[in-house]
């Protein structure tokens, strides 16, 4: 089989060889090279910093055990990122859930016949002023927090972590269509939360 090392993967290949040879320094390098990104991802999913660090630790330990069977079909970083997300989701599932709001109550409303109850308003284009941006960021975080857990996770994994629909369906344990609809409804709910902050005042 021809060697498939690209510039991006050459570093990976060398590190992988050192890891498989059991070199301690290589393990530390792996953690420092990829741990930051993994932490960032799981911090969004899990409620506390302690939970996030625990998840990253579990992810690395799991990866260390599997290092011999890593095929190199994806980059090391991508592989670790997936393991981290998996670890975070497993941790989330084991936690006691707060009572979830019903997503239907967060959706835009329609009359019989399919008309909007309230006409959607244009959003202001003056949204890039620093003051407004800070307000929007706070509103986004609040909005994401207020989503039912399944919807919150789906939104984060798709729009922020960049999982494709197949990967997302896999992680959530649902069909691709169900996963897509979950993301869509999460976005609709979030839009409703942002609307009061962004809608242009009517004349």
């Amino acid at each position: 089989m021809a060697e498939r090392t690209t510039t991006a993967n050459t570093g990976d290949a060398e590190l992988l060889a050192s890891l498989r040879a059991g070199q301690d320094a290589a393990y530390e390098e792996l953690i420092r090279a990829h741990g930051g990104r993994m932490l960032a991802a799981v911090r969004r999913i899990l409620p506390t910093e302690e939970d996030a660090q625990d998840a990253v630790q579990e992810a690395f330990l799991s990866a260390f055990k599997k290092i011999d069977s890593f095929q190199g079909h994806s980059k090391l970083g991508t592989w670790l990122h997936r393991i981290a997300i998996n670890s975070a989701l497993m941790k989330l599932r084991s936690m006691r859930r707060r009572t979830d709001p019903d997503v239907d109550g967060l959706m835009p409303r329609f009359l019989d016949g399919g008309h909007f109850v309230e006409m959607p308003r244009r959003w202001s284009e003056a949204a890039d002023a620093p003051v407004v941006l800070a307000e929007i960021r706070a509103a986004v975080h609040e909005g994401i927090e207020s989503l039912p857990e399944n919807y919150r996770v789906a939104l984060l994994l798709r729009d922020i972590e960049g999982l494709n629909n197949t990967e997302l369906a896999d992680q959530l344990g649902v069909s691709i269509n169900a996963a897509r609809i979950r993301v869509h409804r999460a976005r609709l709910a979030l839009r409703e939360v942002l609307d009061p902050h962004l809608a242009e005042e009517s004349e």
């Binding site: 930051g36 260390f64 399919g114 897509r180």
Partner: protein
Amino acid sequence: MNCDELRESVFDYVEKNLSDARRADFERHVEECGPCGELMADVRKLTCKEFVEFLHDYFEDELPAEQRATFDRHMELCPPCRDYLESYEATIEFEKLACTEDGSVSSDVPDELVRAILRARNDST
């Protein structure tokens, strides 16, 4: 009412905002004008509720060409749905803005965590 006026009035007609007289004009024109008749047939294929419900399919280019055309047609004639689509796109942009420029993006692993992981590895080998 001519065809241009009709196109501009479609939204108000659907929302039942037209006066009785104008409504009668509208309906008469639709009956008598082939292209406008087709337009209204098209309009009736998609309500605003359905537009919103399948927006993600439109947005991610998962609609067959004919349905995509129906969506495009709906947006031409329905300003609120145009605005809604823009706000949907903006929502996604704001999500990314909010979630990737805060502290969760730090690229350093705390030293204690590095040590804890290495310790745990050594404990299990």
